[in-house]
Symmetry: C2
């Protein structure tokens, strides 16, 4: 039994005493205790050693007081399990020395037995659940097929992922085969995360916003929809496609319990597009956490009032930046916890 | 007198026989003749030598058949004129060895006499106008103050320009002083471009979309508004703030003749947000130019029908990519030129 189940009640659409709060990348570089582990262990050592992943996952729960833990891991472990080499170069980002750009390249890719190849993830989830002992729920996650394809084809980070887009536009059959393999793998992967104890799962489409509305449906949303449909009976799901504001209605129609929104959309616009049957998560500008604390608190107050007291999970609009002072992160979380809604009567009539 | 004044008539809201077409970065690396000059001269040699800038500006007019020329130049020449060193490293992007991050740094920045320090730009405009001899209009341009501040503070390209955002949030007085200096310089710069012969001017806010709606007003739009107000009686203006779909109505309210839109918004949504008193420019996905030509043509047809025959300038949603084959660029332009509108009656009743 969970002692703090605010997140689950909010995702279920219940009226709660306040909005739950967590931060994307909350287990990360802005925390001094994380940086100590980073100096001792390589990135994939931290990800693939369940005891280390557990320790990192718990840091923001213990130190910042968030209402949910999210497993410390990386979306690219799925590509490793599918047969690709992924290197993580500190402060530079991921590199795939042999990206997939031809049919011959694609022959190296397979749908893995996730239990065998990603066992360390499920082991970490079991350990985290034990350590949490019901304090807060645990969020599992995976990258969306489109975002994983971006890394698979471009082979590294990019502003525009033009290689991947060009790949999709010139070799659509192959692109769709790979997207389906990514989808099948992700469904099996998230199911095992739930079996191991994840209370909620979030799908991260970090690069969905690079596609126009039609291409977003063709190369991203149709695959995310399959994943949500496969999971939503088992667990509440959150869909976060950064920048894809144009498809909020279509994302809500998948039946996902929650949708993440970035900071480039007003809360009332997001609600108007997404409708009233879904919980919205977001959308504080991560760079705004660098603002002096009094102004930061004012802006949190405004965000909370704009979303209203129902069906809102307070979060950032993207991952927390490494240079955010810990007391600013804590001020964000505390401001949510101590907030009293204006217009409570009006907004709660949603 | 212009022989082809389609662009000007479309910006004035007149019904025209077809949409005018040009491409952002049309004078650039996808053209073999441009690459020959790039191999012989440095970037700033090409920009600062009027004969070279003229030759490059004319290449897409002669070779691709666009309906407008846009001066070959760079938004960062304004920062050079304001006292900052800017290096352009081929295939990497701009670098400012001494970025502006403190009050002491800011003391190096001044509002220049643009006639003296940017004379080569106006000389290039006069030369281009002579060479064009009225074939098509010439577009002048400048970077928006916010986008220039991004380079001034971050000192190089960035996905998120967090340093600049943090600078604005922690030193707002200094940030606004610099933004006002950039605005004053830009107004003088564009006025001189018009005096030298530019028929239209476009303001590029490449990084406006990194700001949330409130911050976009505070740190970007209020300054662009000053520029549009100062120029719009003299020349038709086009405002392009990539990603800032949330403020299309506010941008239209500046009185600009045109607004550029990127490919991540449907034409009818852009029209609904911007209203009917402004010309929209865009919004083909630059990566979609890599699509095989038959599919490319279909997509152009769709875009044109979606925008309708009035108040639309066909263009890309961002700059053309260096790896686009010349025949694909030409197919894009030709598809616009040979298009017949569906629903002509319905749409033209706008």
């Amino acid at each position: 039994m969970l002692k703090n189940n605010l997140l689950l009640r909010t995702l279920a659409g219940e009226k709660t005493e306040r909005a739950p709060v967590w931060m994307m990348r909350q287990a990360g570089r802005y925390l001094p205790d994380y940086r100590k582990l980073r100096d001792k262990y390589s990135f994939f050592d931290r990800v693939q050693t369940p005891a280390l992943a557990t320790e990192i996952t718990l840091q923001p729960v213990d130190q910042i007081g968030v209402d949910a833990a999210i497993l410390f891991s990386d979306i690219l472990v799925v590509l490793q399990a599918m047969g690709l080499e992924v290197q993580l170069i500190e402060n530079t980002g991921p590199v795939l020395p042999a990206p997939v750009r031809t049919e011959a390249d694609a022959r190296r890719v397979f749908v893995p037995n996730v239990e065998a190849s990603l066992g360390y993830v499920f082991e970490a989830i079991r350990l985290v659940k034990q350590e949490l002992n019901g304090r807060v729920p645990l969020i599992g996650f995976a990258g969306a097929p489109w975002t994983l394809l971006c890394y698979m084809v471009d082979g590294k980070g990019s502003k525009t992922f033009d290689l991947t887009k060009s790949f999709c536009y010139t070799q659509p059959v192959l692109a769709h085969q790979l997207l389906q393999m990514l989808t099948d793998t992700t469904i099996a992967y998230l199911r095992q995360q739930v079996k191991a104890g994840a209370d909620v799962v979030q799908l991260f489409d970090s690069w969905g916003g690079l596609l126009g509305p039609d291409d977003f449906e063709i190369f991203s949303l149709q695959y995310m929809r399959q994943i949500i449909l496969a999971l939503k009976q088992e667990v509440p799901t959150i869909l976060f496609a950064k920048g894809a504001w144009h498809s909020l209605a279509e994302m809500a129609a998948t039946g996902t319990a929650g949708i993440g929104v970035d900071w480039c959309i007003r809360p009332d616009t997001a609600r108007a597009f997404a409708g009233h049957q879904v919980t919205l998560q977001g959308n504080f500008d991560p760079a705004r956490l660098l603002t002096p604390i009094p102004e930061l608190k004012k802006q949190v107050t405004r965000m909370l009032n704009d979303f209203g007291p129902r069906r809102h999970i307070a979060n950032l609009g993207h991952g927390i930046l490494p240079n955010v002072p810990v007391d600013h992160a804590k001020a964000f979380v505390d401001a949510v916890k101590s907030h009293s809604y204006q217009n409570d009567f009006e907004k709660s009539s949603l």
